[in-house]
């Protein structure tokens, strides 16, 4: 006789219900859920708790604990999403965020203090300063390529600046997003900070709501969509957008070292990086040597079969695999690598040569472990090529000739610039990181993040004692008073002091 099924216990029923609810929430973003979270955040903001330094410090420290205590889980989900090696996860995801959080903790008091400004003679009796205030409830939309870093580094800035946050990691790096959704409520204040997930169509709905700042990392097309939506409510935006980052390799250059540094930057995370060099403009004199050096580098990094290397990643999904594969097949010639496996979403570290400007690999952002090399005959030709295109997020040059570096730097524009290495400028907490032109607007990292998520309010505290001077400004206006005021107000070219009597 079969045992009768046990009657459903209330505890079990509740557990099932909770699991179902959280699955529902993680698989579909509903507008009503977001509206509710926004309302909750605004209430939490109104309570004033995020204004306090101790609160912000406690949240930042909790974030650090979250990363430290769950390191293995993070390594695991990033491996599931991107086949990211533990080494890369720890360094470029976890430590980076930890460093930002600790930098904020170490400097928060200073950042929160009012900044007194130089005063004129007349305002010397007043207090003139700038004080930083939170903007309110901010929306952070992170990208998938470095999902921890790209979501949590802006979060650090938003928290440090005293805002409430709605964080939307990408649905593409789904395991990491799920982990963030599970962990963040356990470490951070659940009224102030919320994690949501959803697909591209959900973004349109989300952007209907009114936030006090929107921080977006991702593609240009979506960046435009975000800004257009933000225009409705005049919401300020920070957009960090991808594109093609050029890398010029000059004939005066240590080719071996250049190859190592370029290969490291291009092929880490299987090429899925906003900041890696996207293509090389190589001086014809060193091209052959560069390719040899790259080949030898790649052998050294990943062995004869990169597919078996524990140090090499995979493409995040089938769609990206197809995109990169098609670019390779339609552009130039494979000089190194070229092997692919669709089932594994594996593309070997690949170098393309004989690439033309019109090739797909030179027209579209690659986002994979493929490095096209286009020949140029001079540094000037490289500069002209770069200037014909949209301003990139990052620009790189490898040369031992200071004049070449200086020319490249002064004759072009880009979000950031690095000579004789790459990616590093985007990892330094003391340098602002962001785009310009089509690669974005606004910047973050370190104090820049704090400023991005703050309103810097100008304050003048006067008293009534200055009436002895300000009386000049009142009607009935007299030419005599005007002359006196103009004389006192005018800034002389010789003097640095400035005096405005008002």
């Amino acid at each position: 006789m079969l045992p009768s099924p046990s009657s459903p216990s209330p505890a079990r029923w509740f557990r099932t219900l909770r699991r179902t609810k959280s699955t529902e929430q993680s698989s579909k973003l509903s507008l009503s859920v977001c509206t509710e979270l926004l309302r909750k955040s605004r209430e939490a903001l109104a309570s004033g708790r995020t204004l306090r330094e101790e609160f912000r410090l406690s949240q930042l420290e909790a974030l650090v604990r979250m990363l430290v205590e769950n390191e293995d889980e993070f390594v695991d989900v990033l491996h599931k999403d991107l086949h990211k090696p533990r080494f890369e996860t720890v360094l470029s995801e976890l430590i980076l965020v930890k460093n930002e959080a600790l930098f904020a903790v170490n400097n928060l008091k200073k950042w929160m203090n009012p900044e007194y400004v130089a005063r004129s003679l007349v305002t010397s009796l007043d207090e003139c300063f700038v004080v930083s205030e939170p903007l309110g409830v901010v929306l952070i939309i992170g990208s998938w390529s470095s999902p921890v870093q790209l979501n949590l580094v802006p979060l650090v800035g938003a928290v440090a600046a005293g805002n409430c946050v709605i964080l939307k990691p990408s649905e593409i790096s789904s395991h990491t997003t799920e982990l963030l959704q599970r962990l963040i409520p356990s470490y951070l204040d659940t009224e102030c900070y919320h994690v949501i997930s959803g697909g591209p169509s959900d973004l349109t709905d989300l952007l209907e709501l009114k936030f006090d700042h929107i921080f977006y990392t991702g593609s240009r097309a979506t960046g435009q969509q975000v800004m257009q939506a933000a225009a409705r409510s005049l919401t300020p935006v920070t957009l960090v957008l991808g594109g093609k980052n050029p890398c010029y390799v000059d004939r005066e250059c240590d080719v071996g070292i250049a190859a190592q540094r370029i290969a490291w930057a291009r092929f880490h995370n299987a090429g899925q990086s906003d900041v890696a060099p996207d293509f090389v403009l190589c001086h014809t004199d060193v091209q052959a040597r560069l390719i040899l050096a790259l080949r030898s580098c790649l052998l050294q990094f990943y062995g004869p079969e990169p597919r078996h290397s524990a140090s090499f990643g995979r493409l995040v999904n089938a769609e990206l695999f197809t995109h990169v594969r098609d670019l390779v097949l339609a552009s130039g010639k494979v000089a190194v690598g070229g092997e692919m496996d669709e089932a594994e979403k594996y593309i070997a570290p690949t170098v393309l040569t004989d690439v033309l400007e019109s090739d797909p690999a030179m027209q579209q952002e690659i986002r994979g472990p493929v490095l096209p090399i286009m020949t140029v005959y001079s540094a000037d030709e490289a500069i002209n090529y770069i200037r014909r295109k949209e301003k990139p997020l990052c620009l790189y040059v490898f040369s031992s000739d200071r004049k070449v570096i200086s020319n490249m730097m002064t004759c072009t524009s880009s979000g950031s610039f690095c000579a004789n290495d790459s990616v590093l400028q985007s990892m330094m907490v003391v340098l602002p990181f962001g785009g310009v032109g089509a690669s974005g607007m606004g910047s973050y990292h370190g104090r820049c993040s704090f400023n991005t998520f703050s309103h810097r309010k100008s304050c003048v505290l006067r008293n009534t004692r200055v009436e002895c001077v300000t009386y000049l400004r009142y009607p009935p206006y007299e030419d005599r008073s005007l002359s006196l005021m103009m004389w006192a107000s005018s800034l002389s070219r010789r003097s640095q002091a400035w005096c405005q009597i008002l």
Partner: protein, 470 residues
């Protein structure tokens, strides 16, 4: 109809020749602006008198002098602003150069407003020039005389291959906004600002929007009533109330109101005489549409005219007016007044005043009149606004070392002084390395190992209360 595409292309080509980069060029253009203002003081005063019946005194201090000061300030500081900013380096980066370069954006668009037509065009232009950009300037068509004058003068004084003036109204502005710029600087109202930002989003162009709103003035019981009244009157009725940072309405207790009203009445008389219409020191409304708008606000108000209230259509004159018994739902509380009308709303406590302010959109300015520094701190910390000023009005925007801008629906971005230069610049992070020390880099290369990771972590982790090593 001029071809805006051709104008922008011409400027882009000029920008491409790098002629705006050297400091000498920028300083020469800034000098030219100073010369323009000094040599044309008379025509500028006359133009503003025709547009707004602006008294010469106001034109001199709030238009000409302000712009000259900004230009001279930029000239004096340009060298230090243009210098790359070196940053604190970690131990690992010791042999590298790490700095932030200030680069011009390219071709920028400046859309001015009509209430301070010289200042609101020239001060942003000064920032754009100082930062090394080319610019298209579009003065407001409403301040017709001044805009025509600027259209005539600017090309005479500035390099015409780098700076252009475009005239026109809504239609022309819309067409202009179809062009691609590297930054758009707009001063004006919220609804046009939305169109500007929407148009900008098509090209991913960053924007600075200097908007307005209803700037509250809290008058607290411990204030010096006479001084408060004088400063309120000055700030509210300067330029006949047409200032984006003028106090738009007053919040005070019934007792304070009782003391304030006679003081306001006295001050208005002291400043503008018993018949302000005859005072040469009081301006007029810019045009018929705005005149009718403000007059309708007055007539539809459920409040009571306590002081003033007279209007004269032919002159577009509205007397300095104080309204009382105004409630939150009154029509006069639903839009920015932008005219010489000051409603007074009563509240029972400071908390009520703060809650009232926080229920509404963040204003461009917030004013507080009080003798108690604790009240100053409380209001300043419990509210948000573009700028804050206690015991005066308007002046915070004249301190050149303070950034000026809004927050929320009062605007995006900021300018004045150094902040104008920053607004029109791109701060580009640069790291210059050599080929040495490759042995140090070996740690970061594959094949990865736990050992390498450990050693790298030791070198690069930020610790609480210690220096940065990466």
């Amino acid at each position: 109809m001029s071809d805006y595409g051709a104008i922008v292309q011409k400027l882009r080509d000029s920008f491409g020749t790098r002629k705006t980069r050297p400091a000498e060029f920028r300083i020469s253009q800034l000098n030219s602006i100073v010369t323009l203002l000094r040599e044309n003081e008379g025509p500028i005063v006359e133009a503003l008198e025709r547009d707004l019946r602006k008294p010469k005194f106001e034109t001199m201090i709030s238009e000409i002098s302000m712009a000259i000061n900004e230009a001279n300030y930029a000239i004096n500081h340009l060298a230090s602003w243009m210098k790359p900013e070196h940053v604190e380096k970690s131990l690992v980066m010791k042999f590298d150069e790490c700095f932030i370069r200030k680069e011009p954006l390219g071709v920028v668009l400046i859309i001015g407003a009509w209430n301070y037509p010289v200042q609101l065009v020239l001060v942003p232009l000064i920032g754009a020039i100082a930062a090394g950009n080319c610019a298209v300037v579009k003065p407001s068509e409403l301040s017709d005389s001044t805009s025509s004058l600027l259209t005539e003068l600017l090309p005479k004084y500035l390099d015409q291959s780098c700076f252009s003036v475009v005239c026109g109204g809504a239609k022309e502005t819309t067409e202009l906004l179809e062009q691609r710029f590297d930054h758009i600087f707009y001063t004006g109202g919220v609804s046009v600002a939305r169109s500007v930002m929407r148009a900008a989003s098509c090209h991913l162009t960053p924007v600075t929007l200097e908007l307005g709103g209803k700037s509250p003035a809290l008058v607290e019981g411990s204030c010096d009533v006479t001084a408060t009244a004088r400063r309120l009157v000055w700030a509210r009725f300067f330029n006949a109330g047409q200032s984006c940072v003028a106090p738009d309405y007053v919040l005070c207790s019934p007792e304070t109101r009782r003391l304030l009203l006679p003081a306001l009445r006295d001050c208005i008389t002291q400043l503008y005489g018993t018949e302000p219409r005859e005072s040469r020191d009081f301006g007029r409304i810019i045009n018929q549409r705005h005149f009718e708008r403000i007059r309708d606000l007055l007539s539809n108000s459920q409040g009571r005219v306590e002081i003033g209230g007279e209007t004269e259509e032919g002159e577009r004159y509205i007397a300095p007016t104080v309204l009382v018994d105004v409630s939150e739902s009154d029509p006069v509380m639903q839009e920015e007044i932008f005219g010489p009308v000051l409603p007074i709303l009563t509240v029972e406590s400071l908390e009520e005043a703060i809650n009232f302010i926080n229920r509404r959109e963040k204003p461009l300015a917030l004013y507080l009149y009080t003798g108690d520094s604790k009240v100053v701190t409380k209001v300043m910390e419990c509210t948000s606004s573009g700028g804050f000023c206690s015991n005066d009005g308007l002046v915070h925007m004249t301190v050149i070392t303070l950034p000026f801008g809004g927050v929320g629906s009062s605007g995006v971005g900021r300018y004045h002084g150094r902040f104008s230069f920053d607004t029109f610049s791109h701060q580009r992070s640069c790291v210059l390395r050599g080929f040495g020390l490759e042995w140090a880099n070996q740690l970061r290369y594959p094949p990865y190992s736990e050992q390498k990771l450990e050693r790298l972590l030791q070198a690069t982790q930020e610790r609480k209360w210690s220096c940065t090593l990466l």
